[in-house]
Symmetry: C2
Subunit: 407 residues, 2 copies
């Protein structure tokens, strides 16, 4: 008998039949004696349908009204799921984000949760009801409807689990867990039984899209055990928890993340003077563009080579911002949007030397040139030519023995 928060995404509730299947699963958990709070997204396609309506009205919909519009998507799902549960003899009650109440700041379309009032949920759970909550939405101090940004239903689930001190927060998706790497690239990729919050964060920020980064941060901060499972198949999924015991048997590397979402910009031969980094990145940041990796090398006498990466969508704007900047003198600016980033992630790296050298050796043996390197305590990322991406990921997956079942 546990208190479980379950979250079902848009694909899992995409049709009335699938909503019925979710209700079957929730009913089973109830029958086993668990208290269940369910968080749902809008039926797949619905949010896009609503956004299209707005785009037919105006090119610049105001954020406050966008939130009023798109939150109807989850409101439809909560009512349908509650009906489906009640039909199955399971008492249930639905709540919008405003009703629960999930209180947020007033940043429409990207609000942050500030407080959750759990008294209505507690009362329903005590009365034996399943509580069905609309994901991704809340209300600000004035009672305006807000959203946490697209995909924010994971964050709602984790926040509710934290507020209710739930035993587990289960995120049901269309994959059956977190993998050592993308199975579409490496067919020997394996599902991980468990992974730490830190590793999951690095995997997510490096391009593994199983969970929203903010929900993992939240879960880590409030120590909410988070499990990723499939809506469509039975299975234990992957449990994401704190790394509370040093497991000597734990493999050095947990997974390999990668992304093609970045582009590289080299500023060659800029004057090697104090403040040059700011002079280069200032115009980029003024254009509201986030920079990911940064590498600086002293080049020829009095000059320096400065390289950084930005999201590929921001590449052209970043180039323009740099070329317009008058403070750089006249260095050579070279852009490259045919790069990819590959990252090894694992808390085991902390206690094992030689991960980096083994990575470089493996890539070198395959003839893959490394263009940039960046490291953290539990991650090593390299930028390579995009065309080598699959080759590099497969070679590393094999070299670090991720293909093998762990004990």
């Amino acid at each position: 008998m546990a208190l479980i928060v379950q979250k079902y995404g848009g694909t899992s509730v995409g049709t009335p039949e699938r909503i019925g299947a979710v209700a079957d699963r929730v009913a089973r958990f109830r029958k086993e004696g668990h208290d269940v709070v369910v968080v749902v997204s809008a039926m797949s396609g619905e949010t896009n349908r609503l956004i299209s309506l707005a785009n037919e009205i105006t090119d610049e919909p105001v954020p406050r009204e966008m939130d009023v519009l798109v939150t109807t998507g989850e409101q439809v799902t909560i009512s349908l799921l509650s009906m489906a549960l009640i039909k199955r003899g399971v008492d249930a009650r639905s709540y919008t984000g405003s009703q629960v109440a999930i209180e947020t700041d007033s940043s429409f379309m990207k609000a942050r949760i500030e407080k959750i009032d759990d008294h209505r949920m507690r009362a329903d759970l005590d009365a034996g009801r399943v509580v069905v909550v609309a994901g991704f939405q809340g209300r600000d101090p004035e009672g305006n409807i807000t959203t946490l940004g697209r995909g924010g239903s994971d964050t709602t689930a984790v926040a509710l689990a934290a507020a209710l001190q739930a035993d587990e927060c289960q995120i049901y998706t269309d994959v059956d867990g977190v993998y050592t790497t993308d199975p579409r690239v490496v067919d020997k990729a394996r599902r991980l039984d468990s992974i730490t919050f830190e590793e999951m964060l690095e995997m997510a920020s490096q391009g593994s899209k199983v969970l929203q980064i903010r929900s993992v941060e939240f879960a880590g901060k409030y120590n909410v055990p988070l499990r990723v499972l499939s809506s469509f198949e039975e299975g234990p999924g992957t449990l994401i928890t704190v790394d509370d015991e040093v497991d000597m048997e734990k493999p050095v590397i947990s997974g390999i993340a990668f992304t093609r979402d970045e582009a590289k910009i080299i500023v060659r031969g800029a004057p090697d003077t104090p403040g040059i980094a700011y002079k280069i990145l200032g115009p980029v940041s003024d254009a509201n563009i986030e920079v990911d990796m940064i590498v600086q090398n002293a080049g020829a006498a009095g000059a320096t080579d400065f390289t950084f990466t930005v999201h590929r969508n921001d590449f052209k704007r970043a180039m323009t911002a740099l070329e317009k900047s008058s403070e750089l003198g006249s260095p050579e600016i070279i852009g490259d949007d045919t790069i990819a980033k590959v990252s090894l992630v694992g808390v085991g790296m902390r206690s094992h030397a030689g991960v980096a050298s083994k990575m470089f050796e493996t890539l070198g043996a395959e003839g893959v040139n490394i263009e940039m390197i960046s490291t953290s305590e539990i991650k090593i990322s390299v930028v390579i030519e995009e065309k080598y991406l699959e080759l590099a990921v497969r070679a590393l997956h094999s070299a670090f023995e991720l293909d093998r079942e762990s004990a």
Copy 2:
């Protein structure tokens, strides 16, 4: 400079283009210096789409969850209309029934408004904003979402007009006003410039479907001037007000309403004893069937003929209830669902004798047999064979000079 509440129904906001046209009209009123509160329904077809979704989930959707579901329809419209207004440079803000707040009782799917908090609306109006409110919905004392029943957006508009003491409540529909009778039956039917609340109530309850009865009652009770206009054409519409001065020029009859929605049941030769009316109508009312007209004639010695009408949908159930009833002895029970009811409506009737006799004379001259008669202070209704309906309405329309433009 007036405070105007406008209500636009589902057809008027049925597409993004039509929402744009509504925004144009509202913007024009703002430019003229008026304060405007707009109440909107769901886009046409949307409520039915939502109900179909519920029906795919369960045969018996619980009312609480139905209200959560269908209220998303108006929520979509308020956000789109607000966006359209802002695009036109008119500051606007949308509110759901819960947000406004329109407080109702807890009768889901048929709630009644108990209180309206106007402070948010006042603040927005004072700040020069148009207030856009979702029709048909409210919240109960526990914060649950409720609806006023289908078509209840008219009631929302009138209630807001009453709460704000608006100068006029304008109901925009797909007709350009209230007519002397249905123009599809009488091509000489004329739009009325004005009609009293009492007349409008009688017209509505006798089958003229321009406005929801409850909204007219509400408007009459709180003395809110109500105007029916077309969303698609310009024009003054029909003003519905109190009859505060006796207009000697006012025609005796304002309009002719009719309905085919009823069926007649005759109980012939029931024992003519005290309480027989109750014995006949008791089983019908126990079956939750509403009775409209009732006529009782003494028949042969010791026996009586008792005739009443019910809604045609309830006809079979009413017949069964009567036939099963053991308390009636064994009278002859005759049903007829090929009848129609025609009603003359007009406050002028009060001061003019002879309306009834002129009506009967007109029908007699056309060979139309009158099967039942029922009168009120401002209405005379007759039941006739359904096949004579059009003939009767046209003859009366002409006899009472409704074809002629009034001075």
